[in-house]
């Protein structure tokens, strides 16, 4: 058993994978060896010192982390509500397209749209509805309780 081998076992520490008898022989050698002895004592001291390495503590840490989590959850609720609102707006837009497309089809296909006032009014109404629902702002109004929202078309000049 050489000193190099014994020091290798010392450095392996608790992870040395040798039979117990082999290790006991190594430690017996180290206790009486001027080279291995100091290495074994240094390794023992090192193990104890590493176990005693400090932890850290920050007085307000817990409060800060919980506050941060709370902010994240609040943002998540807002994003969820906005995501819920947008499909409704998409539905409005989809339906608004229908009269506009019909009106456009009638005109471009040269269909003899009635030149009467009724026909003209119907065509104009379809186009107007299309334009209005595309560009009029839609806002979400919270009911203030459940956090759920409902849509309301904002009419300028009216609260």
């Amino acid at each position: 058993m050489t000193c190099a081998h014994v020091i290798g076992l010392i450095d392996a520490g608790p992870l040395a994978e040798y039979p117990r008898i082999h290790l006991e022989g190594a430690w017996r050698h180290a206790r009486h060896c001027p080279t291995c002895g100091p290495a074994m004592r240094a390794a023992a001291a090192l193990t104890a010192d590493l176990a005693a390495l400090p932890h850290g503590a920050h007085p307000d840490f817990t409060r800060e982390v919980l506050a941060r989590i709370e902010r994240i959850e609040a943002r998540a609720v807002t994003v969820d509500e906005e995501t819920t609102a947008s499909p409704r707006r998409d539905e409005w837009t989809a339906w608004a397209i229908v009269p506009g497309v019909l009106a456009a089809a009638l005109v471009t296909d040269g269909v003899p749209v009635s030149t009467t006032a009724t026909g003209t009014i119907a065509l104009a109404t379809g186009l107007l509805l299309y334009a209005v629902t595309l560009f009029m702002p839609v806002e979400r109004v919270s009911d203030g309780v459940s956090g759920q929202g409902r849509l309301r078309v904002h009419v300028p000049g009216k609260r």
């Binding site: 992870l15 390495l53 932890h55």
Partner: protein, 189 residues
Amino acid sequence: MSAADGDVVRRIRRGDRDAFGRLIERYQGRLFGLVLMMVRERGGAEDVTQEAFVRAYVQIDQYDVRRPFYPWLASIAVRLSQNWLRRHGRTTKREGASLDAAPEPATTGAADESLIADERGRQIWEAVAMLPSGERTAVILFYRDELAVRDIATALGVTTGTIKTLLFRARRHLRRHLTATRLDREPLS
């Protein structure tokens, strides 16, 4: 995982955010010390440690209650620390799953004054701080945090053989360094 941790996790999953505060109180010291040793900057360590707990809360449903809690938490913190080191140019290459065993560019290994009062403890801390990051991380998790090799390997995403190699090298480096600086005296308390 302790029964107490299991109870807390179950409460958290039912929406009890304040219950998570108990886990923070229980593990913040250990985790902060680990992160501080990895990033070696107090401000960065505080940010990373906070982020680790936040991520753990957000991902609490992914945690396996049959496994110990701290290794799972530590794995999150290790990844965040490695990301922090890369963002701040403290590594020359991506450490990834192989854990860097090469010396890093010289950065301060000065011990945090508020953590260590005595000179010997500070010198031990600084000796560990000078190790390559993989060895440093393994040493903290094995010797200070008393994690099993298997749990460390899982937390760091490497094999148990890699962890054993890192620990062997670390002990050798530290023993030689401390012997050379004549610190092989009686251990700390």
